[in-house]
């Protein structure tokens, strides 16, 4: 029975690891300036934890195999040195790993979350609601109109609660359902929610950030490739949660300017 366990645990371990090694299921290719640091961090963690995983499972299998030896002459053996070498090994090996991961990882985190957005960022206001994302651009005047929750009127397309009758800045605000951005330019999103919690998850940008009702949350990034990519909601927000999505459209600088002009003219 012990030998069977050793074989089964070894087979399970090798199959489990092989799918990671072969990258059978893997994150989509990153298209951001900050993503490579996250990917590198993930790769390093895979190597370090992969060694621990293999060592732990295979050692367990090996010892169980040996413990199944029914030879009556065999004497029970205590682990060489008792518990001390294992405790020391755990503290040293895992301790070094913890330190390494913390120092390397905190840099990747800092680049995304602690560094301020570039001053020349394209500023876009994002609102999440059950079950859609809306993206607002300040328009030719460069000013966002003020928000008035009581004026929200979905039926007439006033998703943000703007008051163009009394607020000049709101009159030229552009509101669209697709996050349209220029390539290779820093983008600053200000995220807020109309109703409950939501989250903005863009796998290709390695970005995930919750919308927290009551807070305006800044997120900044730079996309390095043009194309159309998916944005999904990752915070449980109600019955339509699974269907809450939008697209990210990354355009060349020229296309983006043209798109802005077209939108402003409408």
């Amino acid at each position: 029975m012990g030998k069977l366990f050793a074989v089964v645990v070894t087979v399970i371990t090798l199959i489990s690891v092989s799918f990671f090694v072969m990258h059978t299921w893997w994150p989509p290719t990153d298209i951001s300036t900050t993503g490579p640091a996250i990917d590198r961090q993930m790769d390093e963690t895979f190597v370090e934890t992969g060694i621990l995983f293999l060592a732990g499972q295979l050692l367990l299998g090996l010892f169980v195999w040996q413990a199944s030896d029914k030879n009556p002459a065999r004497k029970i053996k205590i682990f060489p040195g008792g518990s001390t070498p294992l405790v020391a090994a755990a503290i040293i090996v895992v301790g070094i790993e913890v330190l390494a991961l913390t120092f390397l990882g905190s840099k990747a985190w800092a680049a995304i979350n602690l560094a301020p957005a570039a001053a020349d960022s394209v500023h876009i206001d994002v609102q999440a609601e059950q079950f859609a994302f809306w993206f607002r651009y300040p328009g030719p005047d460069g000013q966002f109109g003020a928000l008035h929750p009581e004026k929200i009127d979905e039926a007439n397309g006033n998703y943000f609660g703007l008051d163009p009758a009394n607020d000049v800045a709101a009159r030229d605000d552009i509101v669209v359902g697709t996050l349209t951005i220029p390539v290779n330019r820093p983008i600053l999103l200000t995220m807020h929610s109309k109703d409950v919690g939501h989250s903005l998850y863009v796998p290709v940008l390695r970005i995930q950030q919750d919308f927290v009702p009551g807070l305006d949350i800044p997120v900044h990034f730079t996309a390095t490739q043009t194309g159309k990519f998916e944005i999904v909601c990752t915070q449980l927000c109600g019955l339509g949660h699974y269907n809450m999505r939008a697209y990210l459209e990354v355009m060349s600088e020229g296309d983006y300017e043209q798109w802005l002009k077209t939108q402003a003219g409408q």
């Binding site: 029975m1 489990s16 934890t49 602690l114 109703d195 970005i207 990752t234 109600g238 949660h241 699974y242």
Partner: protein, 591 residues
């Protein structure tokens, strides 16, 4: 550490004679332990069926599930689940499993039954509190179940019940009118039961140890229940007021968790000034220690059982206790790792990440000590032994993925994906349940005086061990590919190619679930037909094996045991047998 004086003056309550006092409102910790076990068994069956329904829906969304429309004509018209009903089942699955199974079975059930016996006490310190703990928990369960039978249906806000979705009421969606209120009330009641239980465990451990049972001589299982009860006391004491505040927000017009200016279902909400992150902080301050409330008792159970079948002492028992205490301590410093992407101050991420990573050190030590215990053993491969070594394997698998999620930068990508689902199911659910299975096969002879069938037990082990890897390992792959959790269907372009993996998981979940019926059958059949168990069928050393199977009402038939040895005297050279019992005056020569 000193020997506390024996508190054996008089058994605090006489043996009852009537049915009601004997089996229903019993003060006997053994009956209460069985009641907790029975409740956990009922709850795990319901929770498992809910997971089957969810898995079938995820693999084959349009397939009408027979009889499901009988449970909810609105939620599953014609048997095909609506997205909101999926969320209802998901919420109830998580809630039932975390609270009524993973907290009840390894901690409340086995702890109640065996903690007093293992320390040589005749009962818990406060038998009436103990009875109240169980019946309070039972009421909590009834209140939770009631939401299945109301027009509104069960809540859809998840077991984490994040505000404001959970706080603003029916405007936010189905199940959030009455169902969510029932959820919050049920959990508040559950907290009261758990707090009473935790106090009782602590007092019992500190005050009722028999002569010679120093803390150092307590079995690892008793240590784990003790440490867990301290964690539970602090954790549930925070969740209780949080739930009360949530109920007030929902029913009394307060705004603890609801900020100003929310427009839900086209209605400006009449709330102002609350903080949605406050709920998350309060919930996870409880929620992370809860992980250890679920898994520490199982670690203790495995550390208690493994040496019995390895026929050698546990490696580093003191280090193991130290690690449990360290984990309990650290568990209160890490709650923010559930909130890396929540919008809390990004500077705090490192503050929560470092202790989270550090917690892997005592967890690794515990694991290595268990592996080191197997080294050089002459293993008796009984069913409980298999579940113990299986525990070590799944605990490694679940623990390893924690390294990824503990790092805020990686968590940005993996947060809220199936990677997290795979991680916590392995480390919290499967590991904890493997401890419960090991404990069940091990202690069943003591609890019921009959042996369980070992052949069926082994079949159950193999199907379960392979099954859980087929279910939860692929979830890590899905998470890597960006598969979001809590989705009722996968309609996004990039998720569609992942559906075959979901189908594989569904088939594995159904088969593994079906294998649990073997366990259920074994449990019921052995209760009535199993071979009669002797006093000490496994040749264990701890005090539960120094009394009859099952023990008499006062546990030791009027005897006051004196403890001479630690619980770890296996493979003893020169003894009459290869082990020396804790209550045996036989001298153990340590070399």
């Amino acid at each position: 550490m000193h020997d506390t004086s024996a508190q054996h003056a008089v058994h605090q309550h006489a043996a009852p004679t009537g049915f009601i006092r004997k089996y229903v409102f019993s003060l006997d910790h053994k009956v209460i332990g069985k009641q907790y076990y029975g409740l956990a068994l009922l709850a795990v069956f319901i929770g498992m069926v809910l997971s089957w329904l969810m898995r079938i829906h995820l693999g084959w969304p349009n397939w009408p599930i027979p009889l499901l429309d009988k449970l909810s004509a609105v939620g599953a018209p014609g048997g095909a689940m609506t997205p909101e009903y999926y969320l209802s089942l998901m919420t109830m699955h998580g809630t039932i499993m975390v609270f009524f199974v993973l907290t009840n079975a390894p901690f409340a059930a086995f702890g109640n039954y065996f903690l007093p016996i293992q320390i040589g006490a005749e009962d818990m310190a406060f038998p009436r509190f103990n009875m109240m703990s169980f019946w309070t928990t039972f009421v909590a369960f009834l209140v939770m179940m009631a939401s299945f039978f109301i027009a509104d249906g069960p809540p859809i806000a998840g077991w984490t019940s994040y505000a404001p979705l959970s706080a603003v009421g029916g405007d936010a969606g189905p199940g959030l009118k009455v169902g969510e209120t029932l959820w919050a009330i049920s959990i508040a009641i559950f907290c009261i039961g758990s707090l009473l239980g935790a106090l009782n465990f602590i007092a019992t451990t500190l005050d009722l140890r028999t002569k010679g049972m120093s803390l150092a001589r307590m079995p690892l299982s008793s240590w784990a229940w003790f440490v867990t009860s301290v964690i539970a006391l602090l954790a549930f004491a925070v969740l209780l007021p949080a739930c009360i505040l949530l109920v007030l927000d929902r029913t009394a017009g307060t705004s603890f968790f609801i900020p100003t200016g929310l427009v839900v279902s086209d209605r400006l909400q009449p709330h102002s000034g609350g903080s949605t992150l406050l709920w998350q902080h309060l919930f996870w301050f409880f929620g992370h220690p809860e992980v250890y409330i679920a898994v520490l008792p199982s670690i203790g159970i495995v550390a208690h059982i493994l040496p019995v079948f390895a026929r050698k002492p546990l490696l580093g028992p003191r280090a193991s206790v130290g690690c449990m205490i360290a984990i309990g301590f650290l568990s209160y410093m890490v709650w923010g790792h559930h909130m890396f992407v929540s919008g809390m101050n990004p500077f705090s991420a490192n503050l929560f990440s470092v202790p989270t990573l550090i917690i892997t050190i005592p967890a690794t030590i515990l694991t290595l000590l268990l592996i080191g215990t197997v080294y050089g053993a002459k293993m008796r491969f009984t069913t409980p032994a298999l579940f113990c070594i299986g525990f070590v394997s799944v605990f490694i698998s679940g623990g390893i993925s924690g390294f990824f999620l503990a790092q805020p930068s990686i968590d940005i990508y993996l947060h809220a994906t199936y990677f997290v689902v795979g991680h916590f199911h392995f480390v919290m659910a499967v590991a904890s349940l493997f401890g419960v299975f090991a404990g069940t096969y091990f202690w069943f002879p003591k609890m019921f005086g009959r042996m369980m069938n070992d052949g069926l037990g082994k079949l159950h082990f193999w199907l379960t061990f392979i099954g859980v890897y087929c279910i939860f390992m692929p979830m890590h792959y899905l998470g890597l590919a960006g598969n979001v959790r809590r989705y009722a269907a996968f309609t996004d372009d990039y998720l569609i190619p992942l559906i075959p993996v979901h189908k594989f998981i569904t088939v594995a979940a159904l088969l593994t679930g079906a294998a649990q019926l073997i366990f259920l059958f074994n449990l019921i059949w052995s209760r009535f037909k199993g071979p009669i168990a002797s006093e000490n069928p496994w040749e264990g050393t701890s005090l539960e094996w120094s009394t009859t199977s099952p023990p008499p009402f006062d546990n030791f038939g009027g005897k006051h045991l004196v403890v001479y040895n630690g619980p770890n005297e296996y493979g003893v050279q020169g003894a009459a047998t290869d082990y020396v019992m804790q209550a045996s005056p036989e001298k153990v020569v340590t070399g």
